[in-house]
């Protein structure tokens, strides 16, 4: 019981760490880091589900009966590359915010917004 679900629990702990960073930290770069931890935990979740005991990597070869499930691998493979592209977009936004506000701390940005209004 404990071992059977251990992977999923680690995934949840990682996911919550990422979630905590996103909601509790004010620095935008730190938030992006939190998001990517969250993202990686989802990757680990999918790949864990795809694993079959005694299975081998899903590349067809003679003499292998049991393969891991290839479908989650495909999904995650593309998700990683899409993830870096969106992360880059987020970082680009952070750079522009820094230029416009002179800071990437959430509180200071809000303070400046309130002054303008």
């Amino acid at each position: 019981m404990l071992l059977g679900l251990y992977n999923y629990w680690v995934v949840i702990v990682l996911m919550m760490v990422g979630f905590y960073i996103v909601i509790a930290h004010g620095n935008l770069i730190k938030k992006v880091v939190g998001l990517s931890i969250f993202q990686t935990s989802v990757f680990i979740f999918y790949i864990s589900m795809a694993k079959v005991d005694g299975g081998s990597a899903p590349i067809l070869a003679e003499g292998i009966k049991q393969y891991s499930n290839p479908l989650p691998h495909v999904l995650i493979l593309t998700a990683i590359v899409v993830g870096i592209a969106t992360t880059a977009l987020a970082l680009a936004l952070a750079v522009r915010i820094k230029e416009a506000y002179g800071s990437i701390e959430e509180e200071e940005i809000q303070k400046k917004d309130n002054q303008i209004c």
Binding site: Y20, P58, V95
Partner: protein
């Protein structure tokens, strides 16, 4: 796995963003080795190149523009902590019904996957099941992913693109020159490595049907070789080698190549992305189709990554020059 959790907690505590980013790189590398242990060679490949290489680099460039220290959190994080703990325990409660890790009877292994494993050799003729699912069975989804990457590249271009001014180039070169003399060993070793990295990228690109690899991985590996070159010889040299507008053209060409393979099979009279139409022999058609669209994916991913990196670095150089002028 325990390592991963340890690194993640360290990231929460750290205030220095440089250390945070380095830890994130370690975290990615650890998860890549976890993917190898889980038999997901293709995924591990991608994660190692993307997570430990490209994303670390992009974040470093970003903090060089935005400053590396984080302000201490002023308000009490108790509310956030409570939300996180409640969500976490609900999720753990949810896992109690999950099938155990590694069991072959889990529902996920019952539907769709057996067909890919059993029939893909007859239908596609490619040993790597991941490639045949990615490029043939689910080609339409993958097309969507490529378009998303392309769009993100355009977004970065729109946000960060700068008009380059000529007079800065001389400054830039002299700065880089002094840096190179300081790091002689680094420069020579990296110079020797770059051709091998490029060669490896091509191997991964064209061998993706038979072993782990494919367009996505090849694209990021190729891009990381270009990044290395840029770091060594400076942006202005790299820009002379790789023309920005040419790279933008390439990015669009990759997507176009991918899409047109689908259109061609549609015009011949089969379904969108049904490659068996491309040749008299269905298996040869599949091979040709997969080769072409993997090429499209590789070109797009590599050039989008290069565009993103160049724009970040170009922005940074511009900022530095502005500051120098201000002084």
């Amino acid at each position: 796995m325990a390592f991963l959790v340890g690194v993640a907690f360290a990231i929460v505590r750290m205030k220095d963003l440089l250390a945070v980013i380095m830890l994130l790189g370690i975290y990615s590398l650890l998860s890549a080795s976890f993917f190898v242990a889980m038999d997901a060679a293709d995924v591990a490949f991608t994660e190692a190149a993307v997570g430990a290489g490209i994303s670390t680099l992009l974040m470093l460039v970003t903090i060089s523009m935005t400053g590396r220290s984080e302000h201490p959190v002023r308000h009490k994080p108790l509310l956030a902590l409570a939300v996180v703990i409640i969500t976490g325990s609900l999720l753990i409660y949810g896992t109690l019904d999950m099938p155990y890790f590694g069991s072959a009877e889990a529902p996920i292994h019952q539907h769709a996957a057996p067909r890919y494993i059993n029939d893909s050799m007859q239908e596609i003729g490619v040993p790597n099941i991941v490639t045949s699912v990615l490029a043939s069975y689910r080609a339409f989804d993958t097309f969507g992913e490529v378009v998303v990457i392309f769009t993100a590249g355009i977004g970065v271009l729109a946000l960060l693109s700068v008009v380059r001014r000529r007079e800065y180039t001389i400054n830039d070169d002299s700065f880089n020159h002094s840096m190179h003399e300081q790091h002689l060993i680094l420069r020579i070793v990296t110079k020797m490595m770059i051709p091998f990295i490029l060669l490896f990228a091509f191997y991964v690109q064209f061998h993706g049907d038979f072993g782990p690899g494919g367009g996505f991985q090849a694209g990021v590996i190729f891009a990381s070789a270009v990044f290395l070159y840029t770091m060594l010889f400076g942006t202005s040299t790299a820009r002379q080698v790789i023309n920005q507008s040419f790279i933008q053209l390439l990015a669009a060409t990759g997507v176009l190549l991918y899409g047109s393979v689908g259109i061609v099979s549609l015009l011949i009279g089969k379904e969108f992305f049904d490659y068996s139409a491309l040749s008299a022999d269905p298996i040869t058609g599949q091979h040709l189709g997969i080769l072409l669209i993997e090429l499209g994916v590789g070109i797009t991913v590599a050039s989008i990554m290069i565009i993103i990196f160049f724009n970040f670095v170009g922005r940074r150089n511009n900022l530095q020059h502005k500051e120098n002028e201000g002084d």
